[in-house]
């Protein structure tokens, strides 16, 4: 265990040395991010140890807290849209729960904290990433395509129809990294769950089966969360009189 931490710190130090030597100007940022990652992951490990001994509902409380933090991150990407925080949290929670439950209903994993927390957090994390990218792009599309959106509105189109092409572009762009990952799964990289299971001595076919189930689920969670968020946040870009808000610029 100490060797693992030593390896992580050494790699971080090598990166920092290179960054300072080449004067990239991001040394401070990397130091803070690295220290945060180390502290956060150690806290999480200790927390999980405690959670394993607590009743199961505590695991869901922790997942909810994770979803709240994820929702806040996505909300800050939305340009702090009206009702954006609650929408982001609800979208991420709904999508993650929807994809988490089948793993336990179908008996793929036992309903225990050691399975609920990691699987839930993977789903929440990916739902957050895709939603953040999607809302950021959606806002940009509406801003850059103001003339097109207003041309629709000027014909009497409702805001959801006027912004539909922007919404579609927002979701598609946010899903590109996931689609590329899916295409190259097993060719360019072996994803985390499968790596962990193989390192733990699991059967490769079983590891691959679980990985593909996780992979399609995180893809679906990202797509559902971002679709819900973008669909329900559309009204926030418009006034009650179906006018595109001026302050978007």
């Amino acid at each position: 265990m100490p060797e693992v931490l030593a390896l992580a710190l050494t790699v971080l130090l090598v990166v920092l040395t290179a960054v300072y030597a080449r004067r990239f100007g991001i040394g401070k940022e990397i130091s803070i991010a690295g220290t945060r990652a180390l502290v956060q992951i150690l806290i999480l490990a200790s927390l999980i140890l405690v959670l394993f001994k607590l009743p199961l509902y505590w695991s869901f409380i922790v997942l909810l807290a994770m979803a709240a933090i994820a929702g806040h991150t996505t909300y800050s990407r939305s340009g702090k849209l009206e009702k954006g925080l609650s929408l982001a949290i609800v979208s991420i929670v709904a999508a993650s729960l929807l994809l988490l439950i089948p793993f336990f209903l179908l008996g793929i994993f036992p309903l225990e904290a050691r399975y609920v927390i990691p699987t839930g957090s993977i789903l929440i994390g990916n739902a957050m990433n895709v939603s953040s990218l999607a809302i950021d792009r959606y806002r940009g599309e509406i801003k850059n395509r103001r003339a097109e959106v207003e041309a629709y509105l000027a014909l009497g189109a409702p805001p959801k129809l006027a912004a539909s092409a922007c919404l579609k572009q927002g979701i598609l762009s946010a899903l590109i990294p996931s689609i590329d990952n899916m295409k190259n799964l097993g060719l360019v990289w072996i994803p985390g769950v499968m790596t962990g299971m193989l390192l733990g001595g699991a059967d490769p076919v079983e590891a691959a089966s679980i990985q593909i189930a996780i992979f399609t689920s995180i893809f679906a969670a990202g797509m559902i969360a971002s679709s819900l968020l973008l669909h329900y946040s559309t009204d926030s870009f418009f006034t009650e009189a179906a006018q595109l808000r001026e302050e978007l610029d």
Partner: protein, 224 residues
Amino acid sequence: MDQAHVELKNISKAVFRKVNNARVKTQILSSLDLKVQRGELVTIMGASGSGKTTLLRLINRLLEADSGAIMLKGRDIRDYNPLELRKKVGMVFQLPVVFKGSALENIAFGMKLWGDNIDVEALARSCGIPENLLDADASQLSVGEKQRACIARALANQPEVLLLDEPTSSLDAKSAEKIEELLLNLRRERNLTVLWVTHEKEQAERIGGRRLILREGRLEEEHA
């Protein structure tokens, strides 16, 4: 009896403009009044940034006035459903924006939206769009053809009022005159009330109608 078709009462509007990366509030329209009768043609001239476009956008409620009231047939436009108001008050923008799809799909947009039944092909013909272009991808049309498609698309909503925001400014002189002629013919045929914004005095003279100048936030009659 004497009710105006469109009436602007004491309209004021300020907008935010970016100056050196800061948002600066600028008063565009100040206590502006205007009465336009049914079927009347009004041209509005003014320097760049004088608020001509803002004025049109207030009339179909793409923008909200800070104070005052705008009446359509004696009724405050805020009492209309904004989407239905925009069906009655059509607008053609300075730069033609076509939607994804063919020219015909663009023109038929309002018909599908509102469930109306109109002869789209006849409308396209009356707007000078040749039949062989109807199935063409709208994004591939020339600027003049796109503007004709946008005019037809606005007219497919069967509006009572047409707001024209420098509809020929992106066209060459010959195409501009053709569009002018088309718009004037359509206005006569359909008894449309037209507010036509232009920055060219020569164009305003060619178009005719009542000529107004927007200066320091207010409209003044221009006398020949």
